[in-house]
Amino acid sequence: MEKLLDVKNLHVSFDTYGGEVQAVRGVNFDVKKGETLAIVGESGSGKSVTTKALMQLIPMPPGRIKEGEILFEGKDLAKLSEKEMQKIRGKDISMIFQDPMTSLNPTMKVGNQIMEGLIKHQKMNKTQARKRVVELLELVGIPDPESRMKQYPHQFSGGMRQRVVVAIALACNPKLLIADEPTTALDVTIQAQILELMKDIQKKTDSGIIFITHDLGVVANVADRVAVMYAGKIVEVGTVDDIFYNPKHPYTWGLLGSMPSLDSQDAELYAIPGSPPDLLNPPKGDAFAARNEYAMQIDLEQEPPMFKVSDTHYAATWLLHENAPNVEPPEAVKARMKGMATNASSDTEGERV
């Protein structure tokens, strides 16, 4: 498959009174056509900053892209001027934001907001654009689009508003869609609908999707590949099966272990101790070392490189070095990994539907 987006060694920093906050510290990833890449991590791990940097939506100053390339179809987005960027935003790359309550303009009719991009990028006239808006609203599952497009955002419920945001993002058939926690503010039932909608549309348009979330359940649902971020770096990347059934990085173990599964066991949840590091002074060595019970002396001194597990699976932890002791993931996580694999095909599922 051809690479749609290729991010190489991206560094993003913010200059504050306290000093330089290194929000993103050398990130490499790519997205192919028709593929969904999920980026997971805690708040403050740099996942939103990474994607905002792709769109050049970071306020500069105080932010700046210190280093690195963002190749989109071979063009380096980091070097484009604001004017050139405007031609790409909303047309080739579009974004769905987390909060549907604040990402729509409350003083504009919903239809006009969707039309904006169509008229600007696709040079449509108003009649054509209006026709397309009706199609889009139908596509995202809003009933009675002709009258709904004349309404204001406050007349829509949260789930419906998020559908409008999805419609805006899809208006110009983008090649790459960036979804920044698109369902976090929504209820589970609505969340399931929006996720299904996005998958449907992806099948039709073959666009690439970058999906940011901290909900591993959502990741398992939508992603083809997963990148786990911690303290401004990608610590593990692989296919969704690699990450869920054969995780290698202790941080990924922690994330998986901290979620309770539905088939009850009263064992204590595996919590990651402590809290994420301060990126004003990133720690020396492995940033996760302070919270990592498997940390070795070398973790405090040197940063681990990316070790290859398989062709699709890479992880940055010294545990994969040939001289490292053989460490097994914590029991809770191991049981989960196995338990989940068998449970998926057992009877629980039939009854739930």
Partner: protein, 314 residues
């Protein structure tokens, strides 16, 4: 676990007037009991009235109708200061937003000790300090933290302060209104483990309100599912997840994304359509299986009984 009732909620109603002729029935006729030492989970979509229920039980709102019995005494109705104080000491609340629920101008020590001051639980300054430090250690903070202000803490730490404040007056019943929704996944596990530990140590009873169903399942003994101000299903946590009976519960459960790619690939979602219900009569809350209650009409009741009544709890 003893089956002694700690809280009994009888036909609780909470209506809000939103205009001269429009009334929002946020909570409309709730009946349930909470037993001593258990964790009762309350789930539902946003706007279904679960937070309003919690706030009405602790008397942050005056109930429109119905009563809340705590140890056999009604919480609502006319009370003098002394009686109120007694209830306030027994019942405490942990709020959703750890950023908004702590006074930014008070030191942590004073935040935690406020309840103790009101109830006169500390004889002198020394005892007060010692108690605060003890509480801080119970919730996993340092005693040096007592002299700091809330803005100096992270979200997870702030939620711990909120928990310490709730524990300060030695309550027997704690209402936790989405205590972990605002926290990161890794921190959520820390707070949930803490809540469980405290429950064992102090024999606490929890009402745990949340929309994160997998966490509710993990922490709760029994779970009530709310939909538009009414409880539609109530059962043991395991039973509810394994054998949901009400179609709304089924749809809710089928929508939870699980961290398991294989399961997600084969998942089929079930959509709830309220118009499929039998409308020949007002639905009532009935016991379909021992301990498993569902809101249904007579006809539906017969149907549910036939379909689910015989299934053994596995």
């Amino acid at each position: 676990m003893s089956k002694e009732k700690l809280v009994e909620i009888r036909n609780l109603k909470q209506h809000f007037k939103t205009g001269r002729h429009s009334v929002v029935k946020a909570v409309d006729g709730l009946n349930f009991d909470i037993y001593k030492g258990e964790t009762f989970g309350l789930v539902g979509e946003s706007g279904c009235g679960k937070s309003t229920t919690g706030r009405t039980i602790i008397r942050l709102y005056d109930a429109t109708d119905g009563e809340v019995l705590f140890n056999g005494e009604n919480v609502h109705g006319k009370k003098d200061r002394e009686q109120l104080k007694k209830f306030n000491r027994e019942m405490q609340m942990i709020f959703q937003d750890p950023y908004a629920s702590l006074n930014p101008r008070m030191k942590v020590e004073d935040i935690i000790a406020e309840g103790m001051d009101i109830h006169g639980l500390a004889k002198d300054e020394k005892e007060r300090k010692a108690k605060v430090q003890e509480l801080l250690e119970t919730v996993g903070l340092n005693k040096e933290h007592a002299n700091r202000y809330p803005h100096e803490f992270s979200g997870g730490q702030r939620q711990r302060i909120g928990i310490a404040r709730a524990l300060a007056v030695d309550p027997s019943f704690i209402i936790a209104d989405e205590p972990i929704s605002a926290l990161d996944v890794s921190i959520q596990a820390q707070v949930v483990n803490l809540l469980k530990k405290l429950q064992e140590e102090n024999q606490l009873t929890y009402l745990f309100i949340a929309h994160d169903l997998s966490m509710v399942k993990y922490i709760s003994d029994r779970i009530g599912v709310m939909y538009f101000g009414k409880m539609v299903e109530l059962a043991d946590a395991d039973d509810l997840y394994k054998h949901p009976i009400h179609p709304y519960t089924q749809s809710l459960l089928s929508s939870i994304p699980l961290p398991d790619p294989d399961y997600e690939r084969s998942r089929e979602r079930f959509t709830y359509d309220p118009s499929n219900h039998d409308t020949s009569e007002e639905p009532e809350f009935r016991e379909v299986r021992p301990g498993h209650w569902v809101l249904c009409t007579t006809k539906e009741f017969e149907h549910y009984k036939k379909e689910h009544g015989a299934v053994t709890t596995s």
